[in-house]
Amino acid sequence: MGVSTLPERVVERQEHQGKKTPPRTGWGEIIPAFLGVVWLLFAFYPVLYMFVTSLRPLTDFFTDVPWLPPSHPTFDNYTYVLSNDFGLYFSNTVFVTVVSVLLMVAVSLFAAYTISRIRNRFTQAIFNLFLVGLAIPLQATIIPIYVLISDLHLYDTLLALILPNVAFGIPLSILVLVTYIRDIPKELHESMWIDGAGHFRILRNLVLPLSRPALITVIIYETIQVWNGFLFPLVLTQDPSVRVLPLGLWSYQGEYTTNVPAILAAVFLSATPIILLYIVGRRQLLGGLIAGFSK
């Protein structure tokens, strides 16, 4: 089975098996439970702190005890951040993420179909070339990418972020899709072919619907990658009008300096779409994240 089916199945089982648990008691359960709670504190507390602090007025931030709830909770920091171009950074990020991921998935799907269904030396060589991309650390190509983007007069545009994002998402997308499409039974493909369907119809009516789980996996994984990406925006943009969220957070830190509650409000806001995605579709999201593991 393809890579993408793993996590969904795993997490699903986790949820369903919870009900038929034979209760265990004694030290064998108390010690792990205790350690589990200790880890919860370490793993979750910084996030809780981020949220709680974002609700404190700046004056209280300097006087409140940091681990107690805010004495005068307020959403002022959020309105402050929202009135400071956050909306612009947010929509820039949405635009870059949506366009990058759609382009990346579209070109990867066509390539993956070809690699898995038209098997000759040419397509297999191309597949291997894509796999090499998984071994290259992204940072190593950033200098020439900067030169290339400048030469194309794309510096300080959103397109400057989209193009390399697409390129770097392609190897993993193709790997996941090829693994999945190969598992679609040959007979289905052949019977459509005999019925006179061309490659495009087979791709649209057979492969596209059947590889939906793999597509969702790739889309989620790459959405998180592009949404959170920092290096391309740092090197390829400068103007506030084309700023995306990770770079926006960084610049807030420079502008607000000691206004930590406002910075943390921006941090929390910047992750809201991903947090919502996690609340709505935890299974798919974890599945999508783990898809990167063959990288």
Binding site: F110, P137, Y278
Partner: protein, 311 residues
Amino acid sequence: MSIAIKVSRPAHTSALPQRETWIAVLWTAPALAFYLLFAIIPLFVAIYLSFTSWDGFSAITWVGLKNWIALFSDSITGHSLLLTIEVMIFSWLVQTPLSILIGVFMAGKQRYRAVLSAFYFIPLLFSAVAIGLTWGSLLDPNFGLVDILLKTIGLPWLAQGWLGDPNLAFPVVLTIICWQFIPFHALLYLGGARQIPKELYEAATIDGGGPVQNFFSITLPQLRYTIVTSTTLIFTGSLTYFDLFWVTTEGGPGYATRVLPLHMYITAFRDAQVGYGSVIAVVLAIFGIVLSAVLLRFTGFTKMSSQLEGL
């Protein structure tokens, strides 16, 4: 579709070799174009630039091997390379045992573990910048929670500027890296632990094995392929840490946390030594490719793919 077309198109795909080639070229071309233009060609351009001297604005001048010769007497780059190797080793040593324990813990069927797991994964949702800023505020020497807590519980001598101390900054950032990535690796081990056949535990329990003994005699050996996958990811991932170091320390204090990707960025873009920055980029790329090749050879690709099958 008309009958005529059906007849002209026999069952075998190979019957129309020319059209197949056409499709193969046409349909891989867009992906290939993106990939070659923004990933493969830049790699070769980086090699070219490594033989030049350039400040990013004036003309590029060919300097031959000068940059490469300078590399061997450059103690800062050596230091950065060493730091990157230390990141690999220490993040492996910390993350692997903890991720195994947490993954196995989460794989348990108890309801409360499922609830805890939902919270464990939350660090995965944030960008490295968001994580760096949050931890930066927690560790702030004036208003950070950590130091205020230490002063409150009577350990004021422990309170300090965690990220400003040359000896502490590196281990502190490593701790943040572990905080960020353990949930991911624990998720891998959760998947691995769920694949272990129950019968193995039942048989062992009948033979009188306790939970600790079962962990070492069954769980750990059964997780070996997951360990291989997780290790590969930790090693190759260690070459790419940039954002977190940049946001928390910018490589400092001094050169204390200037890992290789950071060193490359600072050299090329801040110090405007694009040629020498490219040398570091090439070193980084070679390191990445060699590491992947060695890991693949050492662990065996068949094992990797057979593990994928099992999932």
